[in-house]
C-alpha cells in the first residue's frame, strides 16, 4: 500500500521533467491510494459540481520508463477534447499503436533506412491527461536509444502527417521539447486598404468637382440673369411716373385720403 510519501515522491519526480519516471524498483503497477485523499473512487472525466475527487492525481499507467536516456526521451501531451469537442475519441491502446507507427514512419522517412520497427518505439508513463514519454531504440546497435536530435529532426520533418493522423494540430498534439515553426501570415499582393482608400478618394474628388462645376454654372446663370434684369429695369425706369420728384412706388398713394388716426370707416357701421 503506497503511503502518502510515496505518492508525493512520484508526483515530485514527474514534475519538471528532470527524470522521466518514478524511482527504481516499481516493476508492477499497484493500485494506489493516499491517506490524505478520499477513499477509493474512480477518477471521472468531469468532477461532480463542487467537490473535486481526484482519487488518483495523474496516476501513470504501465509501463514505467527506464531511468536512463532522459535526454533522448520526449514528452508528448495530447488534448483531444480541446481539439475535437464532441467528436473526441478515447485514447486507448489502439491509438498508442498508431502513435508508435507514426513515429516509426517518421524515423524511416527521415533516415531513409527501413530498420525502425514499431517495436522500437517505447511509450511509458501514460497518464489520464493524456501525456506520455517515448523513446526510440535502435535494434541494430544493441538496444540503445536513438539520439534525441535525430528523433527531433524526424518528427519536425513529418509533423504535418503525424498531426493529421490524429486529427490534431501543433497546439493539441504537443511535443514538449520540439518547437513548431510558425507559418507566415498571408499577405495579399496589394495592401487591401489602398484599394479601399482609392475608391473612397475617387468618390470624394468626383463629388467636389461636380459641386464646383455646378456652382460655376449657377454663378454664370445668375450673372446672365442679373444683366438681363438690369437691362429690363433700365427700360422700365424711363416709364416710372414721378410725382414731386419721388417715384410712385415709394409713396403710399392712399396716405392723403384716409386719416389713420380714426378707426377704419368700415367699423363704424354695423355689418350687414
Amino acid at each position: 500500500m503506497a503511503s502518502e510519501h510515496g505518492l508525493g515522491k512520484e508526483l515530485d519526480t514527474r514534475a519538471g521533467g528532470s527524470h522521466p519516471c518514478g524511482g527504481a524498483g516499481w516493476g508492477s503497477a499497484r493500485a494506489r491510494t493516499s491517506r490524505s485523499l478520499p477513499a477509493p473512487l474512480i477518477a471521472t472525466a468531469a468532477a461532480p459540481s463542487g467537490t473535486p475527487r481526484p482519487a488518483r492525481l495523474g496516476r501513470a499507467r504501465r509501463p514505467r520508463c527506464p531511468e536512463t536516456d532522459a535526454q533522448n526521451a520526449f514528452k508528448v501531451r495530447i488534448s483531444i477534447k480541446t481539439a475535437l469537442g464532441d467528436n473526441a475519441y478515447a485514447w486507448d491502446a489502439n491509438e498508442e499503436y498508431l502513435f508508435k507507427a507514426m513515429v516509426a514512419f517518421a524515423m524511416r522517412r527521415y533516415s531513409s533506412k527501413s530498420t525502425t520497427q514499431i517495436s522500437n518505439v517505447l511509450l511509458c508513463n501514460v497518464t489520464d491527461r493524456v501525456s506520455f514519454w517515448f523513446v526510440v531504440t535502435d535494434s541494430s546497435k544493441n538496444v540503445t536509444t536513438v539520439p534525441g536530435s535525430v528523433v527531433e529532426a524526424a518528427i519536425r520533418m513529418n509533423r504535418n502527417r503525424i498531426n493529421s493522423a490524429f486529427l490534431l494540430s501543433d497546439k493539441t498534439l504537443q511535443f514538449l521539447k520540439i518547437t513548431s515553426t510558425l507559418s507566415p501570415p498571408v499577405e495579399p499582393s496589394t495592401p487591401v486598404w489602398l484599394i479601399v482608400f482609392g475608391v473612397v478618394l475617387c468618390l470624394i474628388v468626383a463629388g467636389i468637382v461636380f459641386l464646383i462645376v455646378s456652382g460655376i454654372q449657377k454663378h454664370k446663370k445668375k450673372n446672365k440673369e442679373s444683366t438681363e434684369r438690369e437691362n429690363l429695369e433700365e427700360k422700365v425706369e424711363v416709364t416710372v411716373t414721378l410725382e414731386n420728384g419721388l417715384p410712385c412706388e415709394v409713396l403710399d398713394l392712399k396716405a392723403g385720403h384716409i386719416n389713420g388716426v380714426f378707426p377704419a370707416d368700415d367699423e363704424r357701421f354695423t355689418s350687414l
Partner: protein, 622 residues
Amino acid sequence: MSKDLSATPEIPKEDGRPKWDNKFQYILSCIGFAVGLGNVWRFPYLCQIHGGGAFLIPYFIALFFEGIPLLHLELALGQCLRKGSIGAWNTVSPYLGGVGVGSWVVSILVSLYYNTVLTWVMWYLINSFQEPLPWSVCPLNANRTGFNKECYESTAVNYFWYRKTLNITPDIAENGTLQWWLILCLATCWAIVYLCTIRGIETTGKAIYVTAIFPYLVLTIFLIQGLTLPGATDGLAYLFTPNLNTLKNPRVWLDAATQIFFSLSLAFGGLIAFSSYNLPKNDCEKDAVTVAIVNSMTSLYASIPVFSVLGFKATTAYWDCLDRNIMSIINEFDLPEESIMRQNYTSWISFLNSSHPEKIAGLKLKSCDLQEFLDQSVSGTGLAFIVFTQAIILMPGSQAWAILFFIMLFSLGLSSMFGNIEGVFTPLLELQIVSKSTPKELLSGIICLISFLIALCFTLGSGSYWIDIFDRYAGSVPLLVIAFFEVIGVVYVYKIKRFSKDVKWMTGRKLNLYWQITWRFISPLLLLIVFMAFVALQMLRPPSYAAWNPKYEGFPMKEEKVYPPWVQAICVLLAALPCTCIPLVALFHLIKQKRRSKDTSLVSAEVFSCQGANSNFPHPKE
C-alpha cells in the same frame, strides 16, 4: 382696405443671407455639432470612475444650471444678430469684439487637431476591410522564429495603434518622420470636409441628415448586439451601480460641469453661426432645451452599448485568465482534460493548495478577478482604438462590427467638424477682408487647404503627443474664459432687459424666472468657479505626458515624462492666445476711440436692438 393700414409688415427684409431648408435641418445640425466623440468615449468613462449612476446627479444639475442657459444664450444671440461670432460680438459692443475673435481662434485650433483624430478613425476604417483584422495578429519578426518583439511584449492591438498607425516616437522632442499613410488619410478627411462645407450650410445641411442620424442607427445595432454578449450585464451593472460616496469628492462635480460644457460645444462660435441662418422669429428657447436634452440622452444611450462591450471584454479576459490557469494545473498534475472547469475552479484550487501547496506556488498562477478587469477604465482614443478594437476581435463577424463602429465614429466626428468649420467660415464671410465676388467655394477651399497643410505636423511621429497638448490646453481653458465673457457681455453690457425684450420678440414669450436667474447670477458664478478649479487642478498636476517607449524597462507600461520647457511655453501660448484676444481687441478699440473725436457714438448698444436688425431700416453701424 383696413389691411393697408396695418403697421410695417413683420416679414424680414430679404438680406440674401443663406437660410436653412427647414427647421429640422437646423436642429439636426446643432445636435450633430454637440453630439461628438466625447459622448461615446468620455461620458461613459466619467460615469464609471465617478460612482456609476451617482454621477448623473451632478451631471444633470450642471446641465440645468450651466448647459441649457448658456446654450440658449448663444442660440438667441446668433438668431437675433444674424451674424457669425466676430460680427455678433462687434455688434453687441466693439469692446467685446475680442470674444468673437477668441471663439474664432479656438475654432481654428480645434478644427486642426479634431480632423486628425478623424484621420485615425478613417485609417482604422479602411483597414477593417481585411481578413483577419490587422490588429488581431502580431507580425512575425525578421527571421520568422517568433513574433515581433514590441508586439509580443505588449499586445497586438497596442502594436497596431502605436506602431502601425502612429509610428510613435518615444519622446515629444523627437519629431520622427511624416507618416505617408496618415498624410493620405488626412488629405481624404479634409477633402470630405471640403465636400460637405463647400457652400456653407447649403451643403452641410444636406450632409447632416446622414452624419447626424447614422450614428444613432449604429448605436442601436450595437446596443442590441452588445446586450446579447456574455458578460454584458456585468459591465452594465458595474457602470450603473450608484456609489453615492463619490459625490463628496469635489473633483466629481468639476468633471460633471466641464463635461457638460465641452459636450455642448459652447463658446466655439459654431452655434452662433448656425442660429444666425435662422428666421428671426424662431423659438430659440425650445431649440436650446431640445438640443441640450438630446445631447445628454445620447450620452446615456451611448454608454449602454459601450459598457456592454466592455463588460464582455472583461468577462472574456477573466475567462482567458481562468483557462490559462486551468491548463497549467492540468498539465502540471496530468489530470484528464476538462476535469477542472471554470465553475469548480475555486474548489479545486483550494483543494490543491491544501494538498500540494508547493507545486501550486511553483506554477505562479495569476489571480483572476473579474472586478479587476472591469476596473480597467479607459477614455478617449484608448477606448476606441485599443479597448474596443480588442473587444471587436472577440465578436463573431468582426469585420462588420469594426466597419460599423468606425463609420459611426467618423460620422460623429464629421458632424462636429461641420460646426467647427462654420465657426471659422461664417465670420470670415462677414469680415470686410473678403470681397463679395469671391465665390464661397474658393473661400472654403482655401480654409481647408491651409488647415490641411498645418495639420501635417500632427502626422509626424510625435503627432499624437501634440494632439494631446492641443486638446488639453487649446480646447479647454480658453472656452471657459470666452463663455464667461459671453454671459457677462450679454447680461451686463448689452443689458439683460434689452435682451429679454429681443428674446420675447423672437419667441413670443416673456423670459421666465429660470432664465433670468441663471443668466444673471448662477451661470457666470458657476463658470467662474469651474474656471478657477480647473486651472488650479491643471497647475497642481505637473505638465507630464505618458510616452510609449519600447526601450523603457517597465514596457509595456507607458513612461511618464515631463514636457520640456519649450513645449510648456507652447502650452501656455495655446491657452493664452484666444483669451488675450479679448483684452487686446478692447484695448485696440479704446485707442481708436481716443484718437477719434469725442462725439462719435461710443457703443451702439443703446441704439441697436434685435428688432431693429430685422426690420427695414439699416443697421447704424453698416
